[in-house]
């Protein structure tokens, strides 16, 4: 008996040590990656990065046009994707909470949520770039919007489901029609969660590269024309990092640092908005 007891104790200790080690392992990568980004990217950070265009190889420059392009594409994607996502989520939580359509949409939406983003790029290439005959900022924005929709649908539905029914009943009892109940009461009660959804969606798309590679393509010059190829930060990082030029590589690191900081700030503030939320 004592021998078996010590054996059980030993395996418990081993498992505990392994669990600590696994956690340290997981956290270690976060530290390593962020450390590398700061170490490689911080030295390149200067005013010029935000005020100058991307340079030809061998000269100095900045990242102004890709930063601006990324902001434009992200804004476009949010403007297109958020209303559709919120409306769809509203249907699922308010009108058809228990009907068949909702469960099918929920299933499909969950698959879209984790579908490979490069496939979305191919889809937009097929329906927008090929018929139009050229790459364009519009196509890039729509491709990103396709990635925004599932995130917003999911959080909107979850947050509206959390709104207590007593609020809806109270609104109905004083004679508010259904649509006004939803817009004036439920949206207001769920607003923090819905904003979180949009922030998470922005965090998700601001680093996305794959769907932009063959929709908005790239542009070495200043361009605000959404009908033309437009430069974006992730695609520039991809191009510069794989180039043999040292200047370009260090600009890529600086761009990587900027994106990561922006994304981490967005996801942390999204979490802060929902105090004990179960956001994944």
């Amino acid at each position: 008996m004592p021998a078996r007891y010590s054996g059980r104790r030993r395996s418990n200790i081993i498992a505990t040590v392994l669990a600590f080690a696994a956690t340290a392992f997981g956290l270690g990568w976060l530290v390593l990656i962020l450390g590398a980004l700061l170490w490689k990217g911080f030295s390149g950070l200067s005013v010029a990065v935000f005020t100058q265009m991307t340079p030809p190889p061998g000269s100095s420059g900045g990242l102004l046009n890709p930063i601006f392009g990324s902001l434009m594409l992200t804004t476009l994607a949010v403007l297109i994707g958020t209303p559709i996502g919120i409306l769809a989520g509203t249907y699922m939580a308010e009108y058809g909470r228990h009907d068949r359509l909702t469960s099918v949409v929920r299933f499909i939406n969950d698959i879209l949520l984790s579908a490979p983003s490069i496939v979305v790029g191919l889809f937009i290439y097929e329906v927008m770039v090929a018929p139009m005959g050229h790459f364009s900022g519009w196509a890039g924005g729509v491709a990103l919007a396709v990635l925004v929709i599932p995130v917003v649908v999911r959080t909107t539905e979850d947050m509206l489901t959390l709104v207590p029914n007593a609020l809806r009943e109270a609104a109905t009892s004083i004679g508010l029609p259904r649509s006004l109940t939803i817009r004036r009461i439920c949206y207001r009660a769920a607003s923090a969660g819905m904003v979180t959804g949009v922030l998470l969606a922005v965090a998700r798309i601001s680093g996305e590269t794959a769907p932009l590679l063959f929709t908005s393509l790239n542009n070495q010059f200043w361009s605000t024309n959404l009908n033309q190829p437009i430069s974006s930060l992730p695609v520039i990082i991809f191009q510069f990092a794989l180039s043999p030029y040292h200047d370009w590589q260090s600009l890529a690191w600086t761009g990587a640092l900027i994106i990561t900081m922006a994304v981490l700030a967005l996801s942390i503030s999204a979490r802060a908005l929902v105090p004990s939320g179960k956001q994944s």
Binding site: N12, A15, T16, L18, A19, F20, A22, T23, G26, L27, W29, L30, I33, L37, K40, I84, L87, A88, T90, Y91, Y95, G96, T102, V104, F107, I108, I111, L112, S114, A115, P116, I118, V119, L122, F123, Y125, E126, V127, V146, V153, R178, S179, L180, I182, A203, G207, T209, A210, L213, F214, L217, A241, Q249, W253, A256, I259, L264, S267, I268, S280
Partner: protein, 338 residues
Amino acid sequence: MQPAERQPVVDVAFSDRMAISAGAASRTKILDRLRLGDSVFRNLTRAAAIGVLLLLSGVIISLIDGSIPAIKAFGFGFLVSSRWNPVTENFGALPAIYGTVVTSFIAMLIAVPVGLMIAFFLTELCPKWLRRPIGIAIELLAGIPSIIYGIWGLFIFAPFLQATLQPFLINTFGRAPVIGSLFAGPPYGIGMLTSGLILAIMVLPFVTSITRDVFEAVPGVLKEAAYGLGCTTWEVVRNVVLPYARVGVIGGIMLALGRALGETMAVTFVIGNAHRISASVLAPGTTISATIANEFTEAVGDLYTSALIELGLILFVITFIVLAIARYMLMRIERRIG
């Protein structure tokens, strides 16, 4: 006590003979407008929900439509041919499928046990106040964009592996009879093993957060009963928590697998983009997504483009199946927990 002053607007309108018609008209007008607004809003939300369905079918239809030339030219042989020659326009998907499966397999081999152990730590061992910060830190790994993993992998992780882990593997296992072929060849740094390791880091947070959530949903009574019998913490997790949460854990693993299969940018940087099948995990290879990312904009000719779109279709079908299984499993555990 003063009825005339206290009456609501509409009733006042009725009490006044002159205003009856006007009041009734405006009331019906208002009600009509509200009714119209109601049905417009309802149908708008319904249309948006159906739009989500159309989005998915649109993806499938456009991919099938785009790959018709390649399907016509190569037929079923596309799936089993390992040739990839843009010059003679002869394409086969096997190396890319092989690379996708192998890198994802390596990733799951590492991410699943590590993710389970982290979930064990977070639910049973970690002090309460530390749970949320550590959980968020692990989830931040999922927030880092995939291109960052790519640039980090190419410039820092791959050279590191080339200098340390890969020579070690070659020297230790390289001459062993069976597994030797897995670790044959020079240490390139980049290759399938490197891609698999980076994918492991990327999907780790998905395994961890879902596993943690289902572990937390295990009824406390069950665990307390096991502790009451004298079980150690590890025995409780292994014999009570894990069996109870099994379906959810498998769902989480499948979800992570779906991510690993479709991951593009990180892999594109470190896979080496070589269209061949090698037994050695140290050799460069390619995956479906890396092939598309690398070659699509440079693809000349309809057949080349179409072959790449068919690759995308294959990837989508594979991930769709994996993700559908994942969702089914997660739905089952949700229903059980209620």
